[in-house]
């Protein structure tokens, strides 16, 4: 049986529609207009024990709402969900001892005290046996390289160090299910990488089930075999990361390292859309099915030192995907930017 089962989950909010201006504000004191917002509009999902699943989607797509529903912070409007056989929003203490939620923008440690003290508190709240507590803390703080920081007040730690402490706090009671909401938000590349490495290692070792939302494709590519895309409160895609690339983009990027004799770079535009020319390198966008044919033609007519064929960058693919599923998100294309720049120029001329 799946460890997480979600059936037709719906969460709608009533949002007060405040209009602009003082008169409207005064009117709002008496009569308020509300708008129904469907944060989650019917999601079905099953997750097996030991899976590491990424939730992707534009801002406001319903990812965080789904995690909140699964951790029992909010009640759904309709539908059911079971995690390890518990209904999350019943908030059974037995359930609460077996999962953890980490939110990248929320702090659960005591600000003025060393993290060690907050951990002690967790030990008591979650009733972790002393030996297990000591062993887990030693293991995790060693992996995250924070042992020397345990005795420092949390307020003196950097953002990255604090995030590591948050993660430690969440894992002390060895949860079977972990929900991570943007765990690497605002962190530098090194800290992001550290946390990725840690999560990967920890998840493989303990075989726990993790649901992650993130805007960093590197997180997702490094960690999750399975990707779920949510937009407008609905499931738009469920499968592998490579699958998104196959499904979404119809082209590949062909990068050519030219010989010095090749100076007529404008000729390359007949093989495909020229993405960039930085001699001696030229990058072309070529339709997927034409790649082999195009390469043959190029190699016949030009002197080429090196060729690489790649999928477009993941960020681009995902942005493409988002704009496909949600027409309100239109990708800013190069033409748009050029057009607006040109517009600005004419204005300054005038």
């Amino acid at each position: 049986m799946s460890i997480i089962q979600i059936k037709d989950l719906v969460k709608s909010y009533r949002v007060y529609q405040k209009k602009e201006g003082l008169a409207a504000s005064l009117k709002g004191l008496v009569k308020r207009e509300y708008k129904e917002v469907h944060a989650v509009a019917g999601i079905d999902l099953e997750v097996e024990q030991g899976e590491f699943v990424a939730f992707l989607g534009p801002n406001g797509a319903g990812k965080t709402t789904t995690l909140k529903l699964l951790s029992g912070v909010i009640h759904p409007t309709s539908g059911t969900a079971e995690v390890m056989g518990y209904t999350p929003w019943k908030r059974d203490n037995r359930y609460r001892r077996r999962f953890a939620l980490v939110m990248g923008q929320k702090n659960q440690l005591w600000w003025d005290l060393p993290a060690q003290e907050s951990f002690r508190l967790h030990q008591q709240i979650y009733r972790i046996p002393p030996q297990q507590f000591d062993a887990t803390l030693a293991e995790i703080s060693d992996l995250l390289d924070i042992t020397r920081l345990l005795k420092q007040p949390v307020r003196e730690l950097s953002l990255g160090e604090r995030m590591k402490m948050e993660l430690t706090a969440a894992l002390l009671h060895s949860p079977d299910v972990l929900f991570l909401d943007e765990p690497t938000i605002g962190l530098d590349v090194v800290a992001q990488h550290n946390i990725q490495q840690f999560l990967k290692f920890y998840q493989e070792r303990r075989k726990i089930t993790i649901l992650l939302t993130s805007h960093y494709m590197k997180d997702v590519a490094a960690l999750c075999k399975r990707v779920v895309i949510i937009a407008q409160g609905q499931l738009q895609y469920d499968g592998s990361l490579e699958g998104i690339v196959d499904q979404t983009t119809s082209h590949k990027l062909v990068s050519l390292l030219l010989d010095e004799s090749e100076i007529r770079t404008e000729e390359f535009s007949k093989y495909g859309v020229v993405e960039s020319i930085e001699l001696p390198r030229v990058v072309l966008r070529v339709a997927r099915e034409d790649v082999a044919k195009t390469l043959n033609a190029i190699l016949d007519n030009h002197t080429i030192h090196d060729v690489t064929v790649e999928d477009p960058p993941l960020e681009e693919v995902i942005a493409e995907m988002f704009s496909q599923v949600d027409p309100s998100i239109r990708r800013a294309t190069d033409e748009d930017i050029a057009a607006s720049a040109g517009h600005a120029r004419t204005e300054s001329d005038a």
Partner: protein, 298 residues
């Protein structure tokens, strides 16, 4: 059971540590607490002087408005009293209410709850297996303990300086027990009263104006500002039916023997009943509030 004890003890210990982090704030806060005593002594000395002058035979009868404040000339001693309080008793009363408020005032409790509701920190009590009110009560106990284990020194010093105002001396054993019990109950009552007000934020988000009104009412109706015996009979009747006077007036009145020995246990019982009532109120509010909160999201 022992697991629970250890859990709550840990919460208490960690909050204690947190309190000792800010030493400067602590010292200044303690100092500022004692400044009003001086103004109170000046104020009541001036009031009594005016009353005495107005009611003395040499004084003009025309200025007898002041005597309407229920000033009486004690038949035998000749010492001026206001509503049964001599100047010394008045200042002793003030010192004792300061003591009561040291137990029953809960700075930042309601506004802290409101803040947690607004910024979503309250979520942690939905996710972790820990009871919010119990947690807050323990951290509050820790705050008080931390503060007064140190502040007991300046408190003792001030009371020692002002010992002359306590004309009746120490009350007898039984009265002392009732006094101490009512102080402890004042702490619990103050906590659950203000926690209930803080929990209103589940419905209104912003409770600062409500809290302002509550603090104002408490200042008057708890007897912190002046002894409730100064109020007209009717108002006194009403006030004794309210829970607020247990926060300051009642313990002080017990100590100063304003409450007859046979009535003071009853008063203590009523105070305990109020505590139970507000424990119930806050419990219901928390359950409803969390349900509402989780229904809306946040």
């Amino acid at each position: 059971m022992t697991a629970h004890v250890v859990k709550w003890w840990t919460i208490l210990r960690i909050s204690l540590e947190e309190r000792f982090v800010y030493r400067g704030d602590f010292a200044l806060g303690t100092l500022m607490r004692f400044l009003p005593i001086i103004t109170q002594i000046f104020l009541w000395t001036a009031v009594f002087a005016a009353v005495e002058q107005a009611s003395s035979p040499a004084g003009s009868q025309a200025s007898s408005q002041a005597t309407e404040m229920a000033a009486e000339q004690a038949a035998a001693g000749g010492a001026t009293t206001v509503a049964g309080y001599s100047l010394s008793a008045m200042i002793a009363y003030y010192l004792l209410t300061m003591m009561s408020r040291a137990f029953s005032s809960m700075p930042g409790l309601a506004s802290g709850i409101a803040l947690q509701v607004r910024n979503g920190e309250i979520k942690k009590f939905l996710i972790q297996p820990v009871d919010m009110i119990g947690f807050l009560l323990l951290t509050r106990m820790a705050h008080k303990l931390a503060y007064y284990t140190i502040a007991i020194l300046p408190f003792a010093f001030v009371f020692y300086l002002c010992r002359g105002y306590f004309e009746l001396g120490w009350p007898d054993m039984q009265r002392m027990v009732v006094y101490l019990c009512s102080l402890l109950l004042a702490f619990v009552l103050g906590f659950f009263l203000e926690a209930s007000i803080g929990l209103i934020s589940f419905w209104f988000l912003e409770v600062s104006s409500l809290l302002f009104v509550y603090n104002l009412l408490t200042f008057f109706l708890s007897g912190h500002m002046f002894p409730l015996d100064l109020l007209p009979d009717f108002a006194q009747q009403v006030v004794t039916y309210l829970p607020l006077h247990y926060l300051a007036y009642y313990p002080a009145a017990v100590f100063l023997e304003k409450i007859p020995a046979n009535e003071m246990w009853i008063g203590l019982g009523v105070q305990a009943a109020w505590v139970l009532a507000f424990i119930g109120v806050s419990r219901v509010m928390l359950n409803r509030g969390l349900h509402r909160y989780s229904g809306f999201g946040g």
